[in-house]
């Protein structure tokens, strides 16, 4: 069988620079946790100033693909506008990280977490 882990997945897995807690505090700190029946858990934390996702962090008890996807997500959206979150496209992650078809289901957990994050940010910004 092919190696199910692309070099990018391996790289993010071994050295996930966005893993952990927010390093500073921001005008708004939002965090969410989602899990699935298989015991995978994803936690996302966003440090927001104004409209900007100043810092994105994650924690995960999950398979390598999900860890790598979370890291990739944080790296890609950090520094961008909170509204950009709606551009998150799981298919793009699957493609970029070369995630095998059998594992694409797992990425939905990240999508759920991001959606929840958007909601919370929305709620916060309206509050």
């Amino acid at each position: 069988m092919q190696d199910p882990y692309s070099n990018r997945v391996r790289g993010y897995f071994v050295n996930p620079v966005h893993a952990g807690n927010l390093q500073k505090s921001y005008s708004s700190d939002v965090s969410v946790t989602v899990d699935d029946r298989q015991g995978n858990t994803i936690q996302l934390a966003a440090g927001i100033d104004g409209d900007t996702l100043q810092e994105l962090r994650f924690r995960a008890l999950a398979c390598p693909h999900l860890i790598a996807a979370a890291e990739y997500f944080c790296g890609r959206f950090e520094g961008r506008a909170t509204t950009s979150l709606r551009e998150f496209d799981p298919r793009e992650t699957v493609r970029e990280l070369q995630i095998p078809v059998s594992k694409t289901g797992r990425i939905l957990l990240l999508e759920d977490a991001i959606q929840l994050l958007r909601q919370k940010i929305g709620d916060n910004s309206h509050s």
Partner: protein
């Protein structure tokens, strides 16, 4: 086998073992000899030579178990041996009764046979182990009925190394004249088995677990009245009609030699494994929240099975690379199923999922164990550092 940093370190000998160099040489010699390949069913001179080579191997296998040569039936491996034993006995004896007994922690090559027999209308009693992993003989006793025809309980468990008390189990079955089958894929060639002392009727083994080739195995079928099997495969007189098909001469030669070598090396190997396992366990046991599965009972020293709280099984497997080990998680599958063997012993799903099975070989050395310690520690610590706080659930249920 010393290894540089990224060289794979093979610690998965319970999955399969490399073919012994002498075995490989004997197989190659057969493949390359001018007539060594001939069909052992042919009556010509070349065929008779092949048949003689096969009978010699049968003697070697018989010697390993202290059986008689004609009690050895060659198959394609322990999966087929288990199927032949279980379907063969159940179907052959169906008129006398349709009740069968096995355990939930058997290998799939046993459990799936019994599941299929349930669909065929047989009644199966599935015994759970104690939390220790062992089957309580009293439980077996009380499961037996007048219409019980077959009991199948493995010798050494492939995930945990737990050694069932097959002497007691066999004695219980024999006393009630019930056929007893044991899947000895993980023990044959590694632990002494003497069918003259152990009243077992059917015993499965496979060459590739003790430095023989893959794709060849055997079923020991005791030469006793009542110990007849319906064949699984039909088509010729080979293997006393219990397993037809052109016999694979080079494979059988390799199997025979592997059996002979295994018998000679068994004792030294077990001592070696014991030291390796102790070194490995001492090197990781101080990690918080880890559990040695099967710790309370007698286990085969070639296997160490360890669960850790707060880590994902598949990520553990990637984290310990370049170690080649086995996981309690069904990696790379959507099922996300975890080891039913560990769950039957009271492990939580998460704990079973996180389990890593290290298994040792003759050529495993301390440097490989030290590498394993280093990689295992790194993986646990790394994954825990990523995990959400609070989810690192304790692994002891």
């Amino acid at each position: 086998m010393a290894n540089s940093a990224n060289q794979p370190v093979y610690l998965d000998y319970a999955a399969t073992t490399p073919v012994d160099a002498a075995v490989a040489a004997a197989m190659s010699a057969c493949l390359e000899s001018p007539l060594g390949f001939a069909n052992a069913s042919s009556s010509h001179v070349a065929g008779r030579q092949s048949a003689a080579a096969i009978e010699h191997a049968r003697t070697q296998l018989a010697a390993l178990l202290n059986a008689k040569p004609h009690e050895i039936v060659f198959t394609s491996g322990a999966t087929e041996s288990n199927n032949l034993a279980i379907f063969g006995a159940a179907r052959q004896r169906a008129r006398r009764g349709r009740h069968l007994v096995t355990m939930t922690t058997e290998h799939k090559a046993v459990t799936e046979c019994f599941e299929a027999l349930e669909r065929e209308g047989f009644e199966v009693t599935w015994l759970d182990p104690e939390v220790s992993g062992l089957l309580d003989p009293v439980r077996l006793q009380s499961a037996l009925r007048d219409d019980t025809q077959l009991v199948s309980i493995m010798h050494v468990n492939n995930e945990t190394g737990i050694v069932q008390d097959i002497e007691s189990i066999a004695a219980i079955c024999r006393a009630r004249n019930i056929l007893y089958h044991s899947d000895a894929a993980q023990s044959a060639g590694k632990l002494a088995i003497d069918v003259n002392k152990l009243p077992v009727d059917l015993l499965s083994l496979t060459a590739h677990k003790f430095h023989g080739p893959q794709g060849i195995g055997a079923l020991y079928v005791a030469d006793r009245p009542g110990c007849r099997l319906a064949p699984l495969i039909y088509g010729g007189p080979q293997e006393r009609r219990m397993r037809p098909g052109t016999q694979a001469v080079h494979q059988i030669i390799g199997f025979g030699l592997a059996a002979e070598l295994a018998a000679a090396r068994q004792v030294a190997d077990v001592l070696h494994f014991r030291k390796l396992r102790e070194r490995l366990w001492q090197g990781i046991r101080d990690l918080p929240d880890i559990r040695r599965n099967g710790a309370e009972v007698h286990t085969f020293p070639g296997i160490l099975n360890v669960s850790a709280g707060g880590v994902d099984g598949e990520s553990m497997m990637l984290g310990v690379e370049p170690l080649c080990v086995a996981s309690g998680a069904a990696c790379n599958s959507q099922s996300g199923e975890s080891s039913y063997v560990l769950r039957a012993m009271g492990c939580s799903d998460a704990s079973a999922q996180s389990a890593i099975r290290f298994s040792f070989g003759r050529s495993t050395d301390n440097s490989e164990i030290d590498k394993a310690i280093e990689r295992y520690r790194w993986a646990v610590q790394h994954l825990r550092s990523l995990a959400p706080s609070g989810v690192a659930t304790a692994i002891r249920a």
